[in-house]
Symmetry: C2
Subunit: 387 residues, 2 copies
């Protein structure tokens, strides 16, 4: 069987890393045949990382029209994900996009529609879905072991970035270039896992965003979001790039106990009876139902980016179910759009949000921006172990 | 030197426990000479717990005027704390009140004024201040070791109560009888420690309260509060009586690292340099300042209620500084009043709150209440180890 011819567009920090994987033949069933980036410095780097016969493009249309690729991995700045994905679907290509799905749900919904109509294999780089700890958490919750969820709480503040990170390119952490900060660049993994593991999307969000609090940037670097779910549960999501050492602690309380993911450990505090049942029948005043503290064993390692790319290729070749279907990218983005909108309107917002209003408000941010980056030193950063 | 003659008023769950301590002579320098409670069942209990010559009163004025006590421990329902304390100060008595200081800051401020004018020793039962783990946390923060505080986060959901607890008396968990729920009965310790250990009072609160969410009660049993501090730091406080097993995890992030209190352990994640300094000088993009994980040793045990009563008596006899001055009770109460007010007005509120407005809104809650308790079974609950 012939290899799937893959092209990579957007050769920044992440794109370079993907080119390396594909170029070294580490994705079974796939071969890297083309790359595209308008920036010539980046393309020089490619020559050291991929085989000599890889076609190099600077223009995206030439790349899509002339390269002869079957599938494209899109790792450009976020804004371009939906536009490029739609062009690729129109050409009959399979698509894997980097996270986030885009910057605003309005065109991500259009991308999803185009994907469906194309019938092609569409995935998103939610590599944390390949982490066995979150897979196990999801499995236990979806099996009903935790019972009805009462509260979720994710403190994900270990996305520390110093000013030099933000100064490494012009587009980063600007409304025009990136469309946001920690919510769009660092936290999309957790925003996705938050809904994916629990199976719950918030129905209402009230958020408190701090813009340029710890860095000389115009977008947010510190967030506290409060959410309410359809079933009455509440939740809190806290993220920041201004704290070190940060915390990564995800707690979910349910009718049958509590689960906590922290320090690469999954602990299940499992009640031997339903709390609601205990509440209704116990007569002793003070007292709690019996609880077992269980260390849930975690098998295997996270397959990370390689796992998602391989899964996408496997799905193309043999119909393997996707771990991270591209269409699901809109969920985490919907939450982050709601967080911004709540902060901008200074009021709670209901989900799904008004996608047109969000788009309009974002355009205002862009057009009203007077922010100038002072010390840009364009460099490629080594992302090993950081995403 | 003659013993301080102490009277206890309010012989419910906590009062019975205090009577036991004082009655058994476990407070050095003090003797229990009088008790007061309008409820005769409770007074029968006293006979089994204290010496035969303890005077028994059913009327508070007779108790204060005729008992000849030097000092009074007030453990009545919350509403009466300020009124009784003021009567006692007017009689020249020393006063120790149970937490909370009262239900609304309006009359707690009056109580504080009366305390000051009396010159008597005034303390509050913030027994958690005698816990060496919080003392150590406070000491390290106040010494500046953590640097400028960036964020506080307390998840204190291990105040589980079943319906039978709420059904154990008429006054509990009603606007008229108790003036609130988890914020006034269970969480006052943490509301106090939150500000006492950090030295920071919020300047702005936006809170989300759920009333009767997990229990057949009219007051709140589930809270999420977001706060902002004068220095720009943010915080979250989550409490509930509807989750089990709950969490008790207090995290404080600062410029020099992070401190976490959980499972009776105090961990200091200590940076070897200021994060602000690192942020400004580091040039490598990804990267963090060096961090040491330190288990802070905790010496001794919490002296609990006995410790606070003894400290109060020692302060009366020999001027020992108070661990929990009564006047400081208004701080935690101010935070909880702000949380309610934000929830009732459905908007953020600034601290100090408008005390008259709060009082007015509380009266509305009381007068508009149509709630009827269905299954009251009046019982005395054993509080050993629960408060």
């Amino acid at each position: 069987m012939s290899l799937i011819k893959v092209g990579v567009i957007g050769i920044g920090n992440m794109g370079s890393s993907h080119v390396k994987l594909l170029g070294k033949g580490e994705i079974s069933g796939a071969t890297l045949t083309a790359v595209c980036d308008p920036n010539s410095d980046q393309l020089e780097l490619i020559k050291t990382k991929a085989k000599d016969d890889v076609q190099i493009f600077r223009d995206e249309d030439a790349f899509l029209n002339e390269s002869g690729i079957d599938a494209v991995l899109i790792s450009t700045p976020h804004y371009d994900h939906p536009k490029l994905a739609m062009k690729a679907f129109a050409k009959g290509m399979h698509v894997l996009i980097e996270k986030p799905a885009g910057v605003y749900t309005k065109n991500v919904a259009e991308m999803n529609k185009a994907a469906k109509e194309s019938g092609k294999v569409f995935s998103i780089m939610y590599n944390q879905r390949s982490n066995p700890i979150y897979q196990k958490l999801r499995e236990i919750i979806q099996a009903g072991e935790l019972g009805e969820i009462k509260r979720t709480n994710w403190i994900i503040t270990d996305w520390y970035r110093s000013q030099s990170y933000y100064d490494s390119s012009e587009w980063r952490a600007t409304w025009q270039g990136e469309g946001g900060g920690v919510l769009l660049n660092q936290a999309p993994h957790q925003l996705d896992l938050w809904q994916w593991t629990t199976g719950l999307m918030p129905k209402r969000v009230q958020a408190f965003c701090n813009y340029g609090k710890y860095h000389d940037i115009e977008v947010e670097d510190d967030i506290t979001a409060y959410v309410e779910y359809e079933n009455g549960a509440t939740g809190v999501f806290i993220t920041s790039t201004g704290e070190t050492p940060g915390t990564n602690r995800f707690e979910i309380a349910g009718d049958r106990g509590k689960m906590v993911v922290e320090n690469n450990k999954l602990t299940f505090y499992r009640l031997t009876q339903s709390e609601r049942e205990f509440n209704a029948t116990y007569t002793g005043g003070f007292g709690n139902p019996e609880c077992w503290t269980i260390d849930i064993p975690i098998q295997g390692k996270s397959a990370e980016h390689q796992g998602i790319i391989q899964n996408w290729i496997d799905s193309i070749i043999k119909g393997t179910p996707l771990l991270a279907p591209g269409e699901e990218g809109i969920k985490g983005l919907e939450i982050s759009n709601a967080i911004y909108l709540s902060s901008w309107l200074n009021q709670p917002v209901e989900l799904p949000i008004d996608a047109d209003l969000y788009y309009e408000k974002l355009q205002e941010k862009i057009s009203q921006s007077t922010f100038q980056k002072k010390n840009v030193k364009k460099v490629n950063l080594d992302v090993a172990g950081t995403h």
